[in-house]
């Protein structure tokens, strides 16, 4: 039996990974929940967030507090990219068969992946934590870097923020109304097209933010898009597509299964996650907290 402090450290590691994934997955789930589009290119948005953040940091000074500015700038840049894609291209595919949307967003994955290689090359880039986040704190005998602590707090903050946005603001009520009956809302005078663009931008922003924030702990390489989209798909499938708290729960489950799976069977921990997803797909296809699709 390993020491409790070691297990606790493993738990916190899993939680950190989970909150990174939640930040990204929340955007994917939001876009699906409102627009009913499963955006394969969400991982590409994440990758762009990482590269843009790296670029801005390189310009402003790596390893400085400009990190925060770079992260916000990268997320905003990805949101703008999302708006362009939604307004010019994606909106023509609403109401078509899902297959077209999948093909379209898959094409985006290929285009964006090649764009990254053309702009930044195929080498591995890296960034460092801002100076204010280089320290660590001792919790129950485990060393926890400030940065991990920040990520662990950011996840719930984003969840709460999105929940408040959806349930306590007029914009949120409009969005929920659009989900319930888009045509009716339009007949009441709402320009639902603009609402969709806003939601796509918010989703893309979260993906970009996730990508920017991951730069100090992961290397920035082509291929990080596909790696993350697989993981994010797993968490939204476990939690329930379109469900905010489901995505949160899915991320936590994913993080912990991976963190402790590595202790029990190091080579098969990713297999454990896939097995879990398969079981959920069979037993409860709409996910732990999702709702069955009524279409």
């Amino acid at each position: 039996m390993p020491e409790p402090s070691f297990l606790f450290g493993q738990f916190l590691g899993g939680l950190t990974a989970a909150m990174f994934l939640f930040t990204i997955g929340a955007g994917l789930s939001l876009i699906f929940g409102v627009l009913r589009v499963l955006n394969f290119a969400h991982g590409s948005f994440y990758m762009f967030g990482a590269y843009i953040a790296w670029q801005v940091m390189t310009w402003l000074g790596p390893g400085t507090e400009y990190f925060w500015l770079a992260a916000l700038g990268a997320a905003t840049g990805v949101a703008v990219l999302g708006v362009v894609i939604e307004r010019l291209l994606l909106r023509h595919l609403y109401g078509r068969e899902e297959l077209y949307q999948l093909l379209f967003t898959y094409a985006l994955v290929l285009i964006l992946a090649d764009s990254v290689k053309i702009i930044w090359g195929t080498g591995q880039l890296s960034a460092s934590r801002p100076p204010s986040m280089t320290g660590a704190v001792q919790i129950f005998g485990t060393t926890v870097p400030y940065y991990n602590l920040f990520i662990m707090l950011l996840g719930p903050a984003i969840a709460l923020g999105l929940w408040l946005l959806m349930h306590r603001t007029r914009l949120g009520r409009m969005i929920r109304a659009a989900v319930m009956d888009r045509e009716m809302l339009e007949a009441l005078g709402a320009n639902v097209g603009v609402l969709y663009t806003v939601m796509f931008a918010v989703g893309a922003f979260l993906a970009g933010l996730g990508g920017a924030l991951v730069t100090p702990v992961k290397s920035i390489v082509p291929g990080m898009d596909v790696e993350v989209i697989v993981e994010v798909f797993i968490i939204v499938v476990i939690g329930g597509l379109g469900s905010l708290w489901g995505t949160f729960l899915g991320a936590v489950v994913f993080g912990q299964v991976l963190a402790f799976g590595i202790l029990i069977m190091p080579r098969f921990s990713i297999f454990a996650v896939f097995a879990l997803m398969a079981i959920i797909l069979i037993v409860r296809p709409w996910g732990l907290l999702g709702k069955p699709l009524s279409r």
Partner: protein, 235 residues
């Protein structure tokens, strides 16, 4: 008499299935006009064509003289046409108040209607303000869906089958409320299967059959002439 709304030879189809074959009609300001006819003759499709929810394949929909055929629904709503759908279609997971608030935000068309004024017309809605709309009775939902549309300050109200599925007493109450709206100067275009309901409130009627106008005339004519009513609307 210049018409507020005028349909000119409107043809509308859902994909390959054609429903309207040249509907023409007029509604003047302040009038209550009723579309009568059996199920499937094109009443709902006429309303949807006016609202831009199903785009007419040919013909003109003139609103104050401008052709609005082909406009998106939100633009038509903002131009002053309010749509009260069949089956009510309240936002079931939102509360009564939230339904009204969303509608107010959706439209941004200024005018006399506020949530407080909707509560004055439908006091029951105020009592139920915090209730989820999905849990209301049919009659309450009908009040909410009308109140919600009023938040956009329409000049013309399109009412699609408002009495459908409601108990007779509820229908009577609804009729009074709709009549009160008319007295306040609202123009109304009503689609109804219920002859009783429509003849009590309408000034003029159009009887639709197989996607065209079979008969048009004052409502009084149909009210008084039993034989004509039988001939046009025999069930």
């Amino acid at each position: 008499m210049s018409a507020l709304l005028e349909l000119h030879d409107v043809h509308t189809a859902y994909g390959l299935s054609r429903v309207l074959f040249g509907v023409s009609l007029q509604v003047a300001a302040g009038e209550c006009v009723c579309l009568l006819g059996r199920n499937g003759v094109g009443k709902t499709t006429t309303i949807r064509s006016i609202m831009g929810l199903t785009r007419p394949s040919s013909g003109h929909v003139l609103w104050k003289g401008r052709d609005i055929a082909g406009w998106p629904p939100h633009r038509i709503a903002r131009a002053g046409i309010g749509f009260v759908p069949e089956d009510r279609r309240v936002f079931a997971e939102l509360s009564v108040w939230e339904n009204l608030d969303v509608a107010q935000r959706a439209c941004e068309r200024s005018g006399p209607w506020t949530i407080a004024r909707v509560y004055e017309v439908f006091p029951k809605l105020q009592e139920l303000a915090k209730r989820q709309a999905g849990f209301l009775s049919g009659g309450e939902q009908q009040m909410l869906t009308i109140g919600r549309t009023l938040m956009c300050n329409p000049e013309l109200l399109l009412l699609d089958e408002p009495s459908e599925g409601l108990a007779p007493m509820v229908v009577d109450r609804l009729l009074e409320q709709v009549a009160a709206l008319k007295d306040q100067g609202l123009t109304i275009l009503l689609a109804e299967q219920g002859v009783e309901f429509s003849l009590r409130i309408a000034d003029r009627v159009y009887v639709l059959e197989k996607g065209t106008v079979r008969h048009s005339g004052p409502a009084a004519e149909l009210r008084e002439d039993e034989a004509l009513r039988q001939r046009l609307l025999a069930l």
